[in-house]
Symmetry: C3
Subunit: 346 residues, 3 copies
């Protein structure tokens, strides 16, 4: 895990309610498992066209106030489009305003609808320009992008390699725009999951040490026999799939989804017990000088060992950032074993 | 949908029957849902080695005669092989003859078994040369390629980007040759579906505004208890899968398949009703100034909206080209709502 | 099939037993279906850190002694890491020793944990240097790599194209290290299968005429109701999947797996009978001059024909190398038909 991002929660930065910053405040003040690792105040698709200015203002006002007490990272999403310079100009202005008024309190900005490599380079320049103009350290404001156009996917390898310069931080899948662009059809009410693209995303993110995040799950509610209920199982299936293939975090549209994703992206107690125990037994076998041993029917060598160590290291990273979450989630004695274990192979 | 191509029907251009052009004529004169969007008179694999000359002659004779009354596009398939210059010479001669004798009536040629980028560039040159030699406008004769070699797949991104010059028009999957080249095995009688390759194809086609088409389904008939019947369900499954992931059209080997694919690549009445209704309700909500609303349990924003708009725009494109198909397929009142709807988001 | 490699069996080159070369000897002297097409004496992960020197010595001693009677190829695996120059120096030394002492008896070396293109070029140079230093013909010692890092996957197309120079021979998937590097999780005890990556591997290997091999299946044993048994079905499922998508061979960790993979990567009697019969019937139809015919409900043309011919050619290649295996596996009369058939299309 390059950088903790189990959850990427978008919150509309302005909504047509008495308090237009209702959802933004609620995200910034969430506690415990409801608090996302990355909060994304959304000035783009979540905010109505006629409320963009108010959305920027809400972020500029509230982020500096609440950021010092917020446990995660803050990444506002601005407008952009590879296909429309009007959007790019508005997005660049929004970036300038945010860096000017909240530059000490945001970790970076999220730019959607980027196209080929050259367009991502434009977005990087927009951030670098604002950073310099308002006197922030070089590289202090990050850029994460939504990968949701065919052009961005086509150039994904080259785009990810831009991460070597240090500003590009995260690759987030945007399946809704993507499906629209490819002309895919939700024939039975469900969009394709784009399995091949997700494996590709997970790979390129790892090859360039970037964070990667899955797409939003928008079928928030189900109705059956006249009763409407939160679609927890559907979201859990998606997050579990993402976790299996090494996608670091999941997109959340709702605090209830944040609770789910924060938990699913932590190793379960059973996984932690299993892998701690395997490392303990492996360390015993190692003392006897063998290179590969069989534990519970599985051949274990250095490579297998690394997977067990990953489990332990993930728990340690979450424990460092959110000790109240780990102490709620795991048995004390197990957490203690995970903390003290020797996870070096050689 | 870049360009209407729900169906890519190959018809052998010469067969050993009394009328060697039987299937070609039948394709050129098909009506209603039996008429493919693209008819592909096949001089390559569908025509026996000793009938190639007659096949070219049939196309040269019949296409000019029937094209004016044919509702779709006409794309003869010639011989070619990245691995064999003899095939390329024959293919280039076939292209010259077709452009000379039927250049005003064909939309382009289909070239199979292309290899890496440089080989596709050779095929583009062969078409450009013929076009110039016989006095056709630059770019008036298109090129579509069958992507069926490991080399073409390896270079797919770069090949698709050739589409920017305007002549390359379509990417068609060729799973049979492809499986043979990779050494894949139909162990239980079925070839792999190559899911990852198809997502990749759909993406690159969209990134370069090309048409993309799935591969032929050759298990035309099934036998059970001594009765042989047309394998409609098997083909429908494949076409449905292709439609879901944004493959524009499906390959047809038989008029019955053409009827199926033409229909499956039209939004169903339920899809159209669903998406028209969502746009209508969204437009009402928009009037109240909110950026994202929940409809039927689904969070809807600009990106989701685009998917609904796609459904409506697909129907409009088919309605423009084949009004008798849409009037047969949809309820009049629904079609009218689809025609009159405001599908602009902002 | 570029080169026969149904099985890639790793054998730890030194284990903490009275005879530290026990498994290596057993691999080198295996007979019949227990004998792998490629034997990989493993100096890397299968050998404990404190036994590396003894492992190299065992290979240097035993390979020259047993190679003349061994029916397959011999490819020792050395240490390496794109991320650690210490591993690369040890690996280069191991390559030098092996080429010096067993250079006439090994077909090449296997290098794990390679990174981007430039790192694979370093590995190629290490082999070329050793080859020259000890007076072997240029290109006589091959290189095969384990593709198990995100960086190697990211550069896979370019890496595979290095195969054109002749030394790079095989691409082998390493899913255990790979899953660890991507941060994937075996949430239910099983790692992801990485379907998209495997299709990509099969494609690039074919595009550059390289051998490709799937990853190890380490859930060797299952336990149920207190009884532990060899997990043959799990391995068979994996090998079957690999064979379907054109992966040439499977990784074996155990002689029992070698027997399974050697057999699964041979066409079954039913497949051979089916495809021999189709070719025979097709050849009859061809005599009547038709380009495409329907056999058993399947439309057959030149492309389909190639798939049938592949089956026959695979059997012929195995028959040439291991006639005792084919005569045990197939009915004599069927094998005779496969040997005598005309598999040329035109």
């Amino acid at each position: 895990m390059t950088r903790l991002c189990r959850t990427f929660q978008t919150a509309p930065a302005a909504v047509p309610k008495e308090d237009s910053a209702k959802y933004l405040k609620s995200g910034l003040t969430a506690e415990g498992f409801q608090s996302p690792d990355w909060l994304v105040p959304d000035i783009e698709d979540g905010t109505a066209p006629n409320m963009k200015a108010e959305a920027v203002e809400n972020v500029a006002d509230l982020v500096p106030e609440h950021a010092p007490d917020f446990g995660g990272e803050i990444w506002p999403r601005v407008e952009w489009s590879y296909a429309d310079s009007g959007f790019r100009e508005r997005g660049s202005d929004q970036i300038r305003t945010l860096v000017d008024e909240a530059g000490d309190h945001i970790d970076g900005v999220v730019v959607p609808k980027v196209g080929r490599l050259a367009d991502v380079e434009r977005a990087l320049s927009a951030v670098a320009d604002a950073e310099r103009e308002f006197g922030h350290d070089d590289g202090s404001i990050g850029l994460s992008i939504i990968v949701e156009t065919a052009r961005a996917w086509s150039d994904l390898r080259e785009i990810a390699m831009l991460g070597e310069d240090g500003r590009l931080t995260g690759l987030i899948f945007g399946p809704v725009d993507y499906t629209a662009e490819l002309g895919g059809r939700a024939m039975d009410g469900e969009r394709p999951r784009w399995d091949a693209m997700l494996e590709h995303l997970s790979n390129e993110a790892s090859a360039s040490d970037l964070v990667c995040v899955g797409g939003p799950f928008d079928r928030l509610f189900h109705e059956r026999a006249g009763v409407t209920y939160f679609n927890a199982p559907g979201y859990a299936d998606q997050v579990t799939y993402e976790a299996k293939i090494g996608i670091d975090g999941s997109w959340s549209l709702h605090p209830k989804q944040t609770v789910q994703a924060n938990r699913i992206h932590m190793p379960t107690s059973e996984e932690l017990e299993r892998d701690v125990s395997k490392i303990e037994r492996f360390n015993d076998a190692k003392a006897e000088g063998t290179g590969a041993v069989v534990l519970d029917g599985q051949m274990v060598d250095e490579a297998t060992f690394k997977n067990f160590a990953n489990t332990v290291e993930d728990v340690r990273a979450i424990d460092d950032a959110h000790p109240q979450q780990t102490s709620e989630f795991y048995d004390d004695e197990l957490l203690e074993r995970a903390r003290e274990l020797d996870v070096g192979f050689a």
